[in-house]
């Protein structure tokens, strides 16, 4: 059986209690995108500064459960200062980490596709896939970031 320590790893609780990159950026020049999960009421606002193909700054506001909040905090730490290509790559990797095998509710991340060692702290979120309803919480920030990047590229 899935168990709580898998979900609420120390790193996650730490990012929940002390979220990184909280705050706002002036728009413009920054862009601002909102994400919303109507089922649980979680909200996230992502502010992005992109200069010369590099995500130079990111800030977050919003509220939600420990998973959505820590995931957004972890995300901000993982993508800040990276090139857009690297950011997109990280998003893809994270989404793969969150993919449940259709055939089972008990899935674990797909080792062939994602090498968790390349994910750093983000790997702490891999326990979420054992709790399928919480995947939406973990991916909210990432989907919002994805949308923000689409706006950047036009």
């Amino acid at each position: 059986m899935s168990n709580l320590e898998d979900l609420y790893r120390e790193v996650i609780l730490d990012h929940y209690r002390s979220p990184r990159n909280r705050g706002e950026l002036a728009t413009p020049p920054a862009i601002r995108v909102e994400g919303f999960n109507p089922l649980c009421g979680d909200e996230i606002v992502v502010y992005l500064m992109v200069e010369d193909g590099v995500l130079t700054n990111i800030k977050l506001t919003g509220h939600g459960c420990s998973i959505s909040q820590s995931s957004s905090s972890l995300m901000s730490a993982a993508v800040k200062g990276k090139t857009l290509t690297q950011v997109r790559d990280t998003i893809i990797k994270f989404k793969q980490l969150m993919t449940v095998h259709e055939t089972s509710l008990e899935s674990s991340p797909n080792p062939e596709v994602v090498d968790v060692r390349t994910l750093g702290e983000l790997a702490a979120l891999q326990g979420v896939v054992k709790f399928p309803v919480r995947i939406k919480c973990a991916t909210l920030a990432w989907n919002t970031l994805s949308q923000a990047l689409d706006e950047v590229s036009g």
């Binding site: 709580l4 609780l13 649980c40 939600g64 459960c65 998973i67 909040q69 919480c137």
Partner: protein, 393 residues
């Protein structure tokens, strides 16, 4: 079983767990009596119709409908019942500027249909405020009733547990020339109901919250009002005649039951009513009242104020729905930890966003009792809550 723990079901406010008698009534219906209702001549069709119509009679008796089964319309849930009220009675009897008075503690089911009617007709939707004591603030009720044609309020809040003074509200509404509708989803399965004594005009509730099956709702109104309500959904069963140029709607409740109704579900509801009558609704109410009183006092003393109950502390005019706000822990996380103890509670806004906003909340974790709940359920709940508080430190 979850993590080798038995399930502690504390989510009856969302949907109750049907007893074996109800499940078996439905299986039996399908196995031995199934057939479409009405128009049949053969035996199983009669029995099927009999199952369906006796459920109508059982419900009429259960809520003491003055003119009996002729006043009971079967819908698919409370939500459809209220939509029927708004889209049939409301559309025919309300016009621009008329006011529908709801309350700040309503479920979306008793808000959105009125907003839709506002879009369609230009009516006004007005809210009775909720006080800091988690009860309707009726200090300005006479002013609030200005221009009101219909008061539509819940008999019991699905978030706060607050039981509203429906009989008083009915008197006040009628004195102002308004009718009164009751969203009774949360009360019918938990305390005695008597629409005649309450002197109300409309009543909406769901089978699945009173030990019955999903897929079946109930709408009650007085025979005189029902007789004048225009049809809502069109189709078979709700007509007396159809030609290529027009149709004549049926009289009575079937006018609002277009298509094949939830027949097996009605058989299940009939069994649920018998079951509840067997328990005695006074006993059910007393039982849940004791559980609630006990839980509230333990929540108060055992958590050093880290857990706040969003709802009245006194248990007079209060049902067994307990919404919790755990300091520093999101409701989603509370529910997740509780799940590891096999405890089923519901996190979220409980389809009552205006109410959540009123109390500046995003979500609560809600525990709720049913006739089958035991004090042991509360024990497990508190054990699990202790763990949640500890985990998030």
């Amino acid at each position: 079983m979850i993590n080798d723990r038995p399930i502690t079901y504390l989510d009856s406010a969302a949907s109750s767990v049907p007893p074996r008698a109800v499940i078996e009534a439905m299986s039996r219906h399908y196995e031995r009596r199934h057939a479409n209702v009405h128009r049949g001549v053969y035996q199983t069709a009669n029995e099927s119709t009999h199952d369906y119509e006796s459920a109508r009679e059982a419900i009429a008796r259960f809520i003491n409908a003055p003119a009996g089964a002729n006043e009971i319309v079967f819908t698919k849930n409370t939500t459809e019942s209220i939509n029927l009220l708004a889209k049939s009675w409301g559309a025919a009897n309300l016009k621009a500027g008329d006011v529908v008075l709801v309350s700040e503690m309503e479920h979306h089911a008793n808000i959105v249909p009125w907003f839709q009617l506002r879009e369609a007709l230009g009516i006004e939707v007005r809210f009775i405020p909720v006080g800091d004591d988690f009860r309707l603030d009726l200090t300005t009720i006479d002013e609030l009733l200005e221009g009101v044609k219909l008061v539509s309020v819940t008999s019991m809040s699905n978030v706060l547990g607050t039981v509203n003074p429906i009989k008083d509200l009915a008197q006040i509404a009628h004195r102002h020339g308004a009718l009164i509708a009751v969203d009774a989803a949360q009360s019918v399965g938990h305390s005695p109901t008597d629409v005649t004594e309450l002197d109300v005009d409309f009543f909406a509730f769901s089978a699945h919250k009173m030990l019955g099956p999903t897929g079946l709702g109930i709408f009650w109104t007085r025979q005189e009002i029902l007789a004048d309500m225009p049809p809502f959904l069109g189709g078979g069963g709700m007509i007396t005649d159809v030609s290529s140029t027009g149709y004549v709607p049926a009289k009575g409740p079937t006018r609002f039951e277009a298509g094949t109704p939830p027949i097996a579900e009605a058989a299940g509801l009939g069994a649920a009513v018998l079951y509840l009558e067997g328990l005695g609704m006074d006993n059910v109410h007393e039982h849940e009242h004791l559980l609630t009183e006990d839980a509230l006092s333990r929540l108060e003393t055992e958590f050093d104020g880290r857990i706040r109950v969003i709802g009245p502390r006194d248990t007079i005019a209060r049902g067994g729905v307990i919404s919790l706000d755990v300091e520093g822990v999101h409701a989603h996380d509370v529910a997740q930890v509780l799940d590891q103890f096999g405890v089923c509670v519901r996190p979220g806004h409980h389809c009552a966003k205006p109410l959540m906003k009123r109390f500046n909340l995003i979500a609560t974790a809600r525990a709720s009792y049913g006739p089958y709940s035991l004090i042991q359920d509360t024990d497990v709940l508190l054990e699990a809550l202790t763990d949640a508080v500890k985990l998030f430190g």
